[in-house]
Amino acid sequence: MGTEHNVALVDYTPTSPAKVFEAYPPRTLWSDVWRRYCRHRLAMAGTVVIVLLSVATLLGPMVYPVPIDDIDFAVKLTGPSLTHPFGTDDLGQDLLARILYGGRISMAVGLAAMLIAIVLGMVIGALAGFFGGVLDSVLMRLTDLFLSLPQLPLLLLVVFLFRDRVRLAFGPELGIFILIVCVIGGLRWMQPARLVRASFLALKEKEFVEAARCVGVPSAWLIIRHILPNALSPVIVAATLGVGSAILAESSISFLGLGFPPDMPTWGRILSDARDYLDLAPHWALFPGLMIFLAVISINYIGDGLRDALDPRKIL
């Protein structure tokens, strides 16, 4: 990099300062992050895999227009072949089509649940950290309480108990989706909340906040415009990793038979159905399991790369 600057100095003539700016676009915070991120090879590999998986699940059903519920007992439990690249299940339904469709739901659940968790966590953490006092202690006790709740049993319990009621309220598919997303998101906001609160406690004492307050910036604007952007780095990492753990949570409850119904084949649900046919049709379990693994490990590597890239103390 040093050499590049030398070249710039040689080229520089006082008559055309604009030329220098054209040749060297200004380096921004995000371009720096992107540069550092690109150097993390495994994170890049993870990004490629996640992009491929997303494109496949979003566009796949258009390119591969086989219905997910086409029952054909003549080909039941057959392994991968040309007509059925991922094989078939016990009803002769095409597994590739089901996995593509299921991936859409699994990833949508992961993203939506993470969004709920992050938004909740940011609001609670920001309020507790910014205002402090009684509000802070009440919110933090609430956070401690939620951290002590047994996650998986509660998840199973709530989904099982309220399944029928939301199904009546929102229809069979949307209802169960909303329920699962809300429950997973509602049990995962504690870590982001603590991260945001810690950043807020440190940032609100800084001079730039004091300066903004002096020129009469109202509290809400202070929180949103001045403090929150500076508290985002750890939240971004937590959000990325949160998508992975939400996908795992959804797969777990579907695997235990308490999540999505069989006509909505998420990856966990397909795996659960495949359990009893492991001896006859191992491919049935292998493909969805592999998808979950690929998605989760890619997301974990992306989170790892982002953690390194967003840490300004780290020089790569």
């Binding site: 709740l149 998986l152 509660l154 795996l271 359990r275 379990a285 979950i292 693994f293």
Partner: protein, 319 residues
């Protein structure tokens, strides 16, 4: 120290009350009737069902039911399973030894793997061994136990035919053969859980070792002529283990709930599978008791983690 302990202990009480209120409210608000089956049975008149509901106090307002439940819980009366018609505490005690055996061994295995691997990785960071170990740890940490469980069954039960994939409590054998059969059927659940825990523990051990290994007192230890082995094991490891012990204590309750899935895959008759069957049959007293036991584990181990941390690290003073 004593005053801190007492205060720390007192904080757990409102936490437990809070958790029990949340759990109770969730269960009480839910639809579903434990006597639903009776309603479908034409031989049982509706009055009998209504009398039963009244006898168990299901029609009282929620706060009344909560106080009744909480006070009987404190007296050690955990209620009566609607489905298996047994006292809940007996039902749980019946299942507990299996769960504890599988979990205890799995966690022992995890520590046996994670400690040496983590230490060796940290001693030579970015060496070939470290790179292989960290990659394996990353993969193991991203592989969900329900998938590894199925892979193990596929490999060891179906292709190699070495191990049984269904856990049975009634093994008809005695002496050495009983022990061997028992170990054989427990091998896969223990391995699945143990490897998963080992993966995340290895990462902690490595990170914690790396935090300590560059500190000045380590250089001093080397400078005064201690062997590398003694420096690492005596000076670095002992300090690096302080946060690891805390992590272990904080993770233990999570392992109990994580074991629900493993128990379900291998059909281990432990607390986790009891919970699943109880949820599916709306056996409210059992569900309530087990989730509350899990919550108590979390709270108790948080307390243990805090106390151990202070005992191990003399720099921490309780005020």
């Amino acid at each position: 120290m004593h005053r801190y302990l007492i205060r720390r202990f007192l904080i757990t009480i409102p936490t437990l009350v809070g958790i029990s209120i949340v759990l109770f409210t969730v269960l009480a608000m839910a639809p579903g009737d434990p006597f639903e089956e009776l309603a479908l049975n034409p031989n049982i008149p509706a009055e009998v069902r209504l009398n039963l509901r009244q006898q168990f106090g299901l029609d009282d307002p929620i706060p009344v039911r909560y106080i009744r439940w909480f006070s009987s819980m404190l007296r050690g009366d955990w209620g009566y399973s609607f489905v298996s018609r047994v006292d809940v505490d007996r039902l749980i005690l019946q299942r507990l030894p299996t769960t504890l055996f599988v979990l205890g061994t799995a966690y022992g295995l995890a520590l046996l793997i994670a400690l040496p691997v983590g230490v060796m990785s940290a001693v030579r960071p970015y060496s070939l061994f470290d790179q292989i170990a960290t990659t394996f740890a990353f993969v193991g940490y991203s592989l969900p136990t329900f998938f590894t469980g199925l892979l193990f069954i596929l490999l060891f039960s179906l292709y190699l035919d070495w191990l049984p994939f269904i856990y049975s409590t009634t093994i008809e054998a005695s002496g050495m053969r009983w022990v061997v059969e028992h170990l054989k059927q427990a091998a896969m659940p223990i391995a699945v859980l143990g490897l998963f825990e080992a993966a995340s523990l290895t990462r902690f051990v490595r990170a914690s070792m790396l935090d300590v290994i560059h500190q000045d007192f380590v250089t001093t230890a080397r400078a005064k002529g201690l062997t590398e082995r003694r420096t690492i094991l005596w000076h670095v490891l002992r300090n690096a283990l302080i946060p690891v012990v805390t992590i272990v204590a904080l993770q233990l309750p999570g392992i109990f709930t994580g074991a629900v899935i493993t128990e379900q895959i291998f059909r281990v008759p432990g607390i986790g599978s009891l919970l699943i069957t109880a949820i599916q049959s709306t056996d409210t007293p059992v569900v309530m008791a087990i989730t509350f036991v899990y919550a108590m584990l979390v709270v108790v181990f948080n307390l243990v983690a805090d106390v151990i941390y202070g005992l191990l690290d003399p720099r921490i003073t309780y005020t």
